[in-house]
């Protein structure tokens, strides 16, 4: 954020026009850390003249400071903040009290060893552990990459080669192409795994289209979905199609749309909530359905609000 000789603690105003202040700590940047991209309002008062007015705007509220240890607590400082505008004009009042992706952006929880991350445009990570916020185009070009942490994407994400494991939370507002994902997925756009042998373990919340052969974890799909194997909680708001045989699901299933499993030998163990049409040959667990159901075997509690064909 700035070039300083000594670390210290200072008081800042995060929200322009607000009376509330927050203490910040200046600490040493990690080797290889990048400067903040562009200008910002949170520069140090060390460089200020005595004519500076600290009474308005975001940033430091005075030139006073207290020397403090400058140990870096695990921020590698290589990825850009999720909301650079917050650093220029202050944090929006609506975001007050929420976890800031800008703060969590560069937190490193495991080891990191990767290539350079340049600006908002491209990301070439070998191994990333932490949370990553991206506002632009996101692409994995080299193969054999892994990601552990939370990934928030506001743009398009694509990866053309395999296999890329991902164990973290993933938020997508655009398009995403990947082969392997482990963690929580939040998607507002389109997500597709073009290659076979896809593994997903975690929570999935999707508003678009999902095409994956294997899934283990929580799944919320508002679009179309084609998973052959599911283990965990499944919440579907859209259309679900499992065209292949030997599809299994263990966990809670909530369907708001249509479910079609045309082939036999499909198993389900857990709670099932259906709001739409459903065709399942085999089901073991609790079933709550509001629509249509076509299943072969079912063992458990079944609540149907619509039509059901077991």
């Amino acid at each position: 954020m700035d070039v300083l000789r000594s670390p210290s603690i200072q008081s800042v105003r995060m929200i322009e026009g607000s009376d509330s202040t927050t203490l910040i700590r200046w600490y040493k940047a990690a080797p290889g850390a990048k400067p903040f991209p562009g200008s910002h309002a949170f520069g140090s008062s060390f460089w200020d003249g005595d004519w500076v007015d600290y009474g308005v705007g975001p940033g430091l509220t005075s030139a006073d400071f207290t020397y403090a240890p400058g140990r870096n607590r695990g921020f590698d400082g290589r990825c850009p903040p999720a909301h650079p505008d917050w650093f220029r004009s202050g944090m929006p009042l609506s975001e007050a009290g929420k976890p800031s992706p800008a703060v969590l952006c560069c937190r490193r929880t495991l080891s990191t060893s990767g290539g350079p991350i340049a600006g908002f445009g491209c990301l070439f990570p070998a191994t990333i552990a932490g949370e990553l916020g991206l506002n632009g185009v996101f692409s994995f070009t080299p193969p054999a990459r892994s990601y552990f942490g939370a990934l928030v994407l506001d743009g398009r994400a694509s990866r053309g080669v395999s296999p890329v494991p991902f164990a973290a939370e993933l938020g997508l507002d655009g398009n995403a192409l990947g082969t392997e994902f482990q963690g929580s997925l939040v998607e507002d756009g389109q997500w597709s795994f073009p290659a076979p042998s896809i593994t997903f373990a975690g929570s999935l919340v999707e508003d678009g289209q999902w095409q994956g052969p294997e899934y283990a974890g929580d799944l919320v799909v508002k679009g179309a979905w084609d998973p052959p194997d599911v283990a965990g909680e499944l919440v579907l708001d859209g259309r679900v199609e499992i065209p292949t045989p030997a599809t299994s699901f263990a966990g809670e299933l909530v369907l708001d749309g249509r479910v079609e499993i045309p082939t036999p030998a499909t198993s389900f163990a857990g709670e099932l909530v259906l709001d739409g049409a459903s065709e399942l040959p085999y089901f073991a667990g609790e079933l709550v359905e509001d629509g249509q159901w076509h299943g072969a075997v079912y063992a458990g509690e079944l609540v149907l609000a619509g039509r059901f064909f077991p």
Binding site: D2, F36, S39, A41, S45, W51, G59, R88
Partner: protein, 301 residues
């Protein structure tokens, strides 16, 4: 009127020593428009340095607008390092292009008219630019390096400047003091002046031209901060300015009243440069080694 423009601080590294140098881009209104000029300035500055000096960062901040600053790193700057070529030093000597010794620098006097000037202590310059003969007279650097230095100085006089005190005159009038009083509760000195433009409480002022009855008494000449203002006659603009920190000074020790003016900072553009040669003046805590020293050139036969 506070200073304007964009402040550019170049932060260089010479081994374990850190070097910083600051100039102000006169008339700049945004950081973005200043970045190309800052890159040019950094490039010409690093060319004046000895081998091993690298430009680590360039910091830009808008003067008068605290909430706007930016740091450019070496990658953005394109990895600016000092040239590695040795420069011929006379007909017989060729010396290595090593950076200067600790706490030594090459002095350039930047001028801005008759009333403003700024001393520019160039650190990180080649060692042989700061040498003296046996009689302690500075020796001229080699012409090849002077040509590089002149390119940098020409750049400085092309739209760069510094922050200096605004001299009295024009919008900053010189206010003759007509009377001096003592505030009973605080023992602060109050100076009575007459001018329509009152100085705000908290502002810094300069008092000068006071004559004391004896040099044994503490003088009031110098820089002070206005602690309190009493508007004696608003219509006539007469006011009494009590100055913080003047307790202990007695009005009866004034033999002659002087003047008072607002100590304001403004951005002043460089108009010229005069090379003064090597100096051993300390420039902050640059050193973990011995104090500054002068090198005597030895001619190799």
């Amino acid at each position: 009127m506070p200073p304007t423009g964009c402040r550019v601080t170049m932060i260089m590294r010479a081994g374990k020593y850190g070097i910083s140098e600051t100039h102000v881009r006169v008339g700049a209104t945004t950081i973005a428009q200043t970045i190309p000029f800052a890159q040019t300035l950094a490039k010409k500055r690093i060319a004046c340095c000895g081998v091993g000096v690298a430009m680590d960062y360039v910091r830009l901040s808008m003067e008068g607008v605290r909430r706007d600053s930016q740091v450019l790193d070496a990658e953005f700057l394109g990895g600016l390092v000092a040239p590695s070529t040795s420069i011929s030093f006379g007909p017989v000597n060729v010396e290595a292009n090593t950076p200067d010794q600790a706490k030594a620098s090459y002095l350039v006097r930047m001028t801005a008219g008759d009333l403003a000037r700024s001393s520019l202590y160039l650190a990180g310059v080649p060692d042989w630019a700061i040498q003296f003969d046996a009689n302690d007279n500075p020796l001229p650097p080699p012409p090849a390096w002077l040509k590089i230095l002149q390119i940098y100085l020409d750049e400085l006089t092309s739209g760069w400047g510094f922050i200096g005190v605004q001299r009295p005159g024009g919008g900053n009038p010189l206010r003759p003091v007509t009377k001096a009083v003592l505030q009973q509760d605080t023992s602060l000195i109050g100076l009575v002046t007459t001018n329509a433009n009152a100085i705000d409480v908290g502002a810094f002022v300069t008092v000068q031209d006071f004559l004391m009855v004896s040099r044994a008494y503490r003088s009031i000449n110098g820089n002070w901060q206005v602690a309190e203002r009493i508007d004696n006659s608003p219509g006539a603009g007469q006011a009494t300015y009590y100055l913080r920190g003047t307790a202990g000074i007695t009005p009866s020790t004034f033999a002659h009243y002087g003047n008072l003016f607002l100590r304001d900072k403004v951005t002043i553009a460089y108009l010229g440069a005069t090379r003064r040669g090597g100096t051993t003046r300390k420039r902050g805590n640059r050193s973990l080694a011995s104090p500054g020293r002068k090198l005597t050139r030895k001619v190799v036969n």
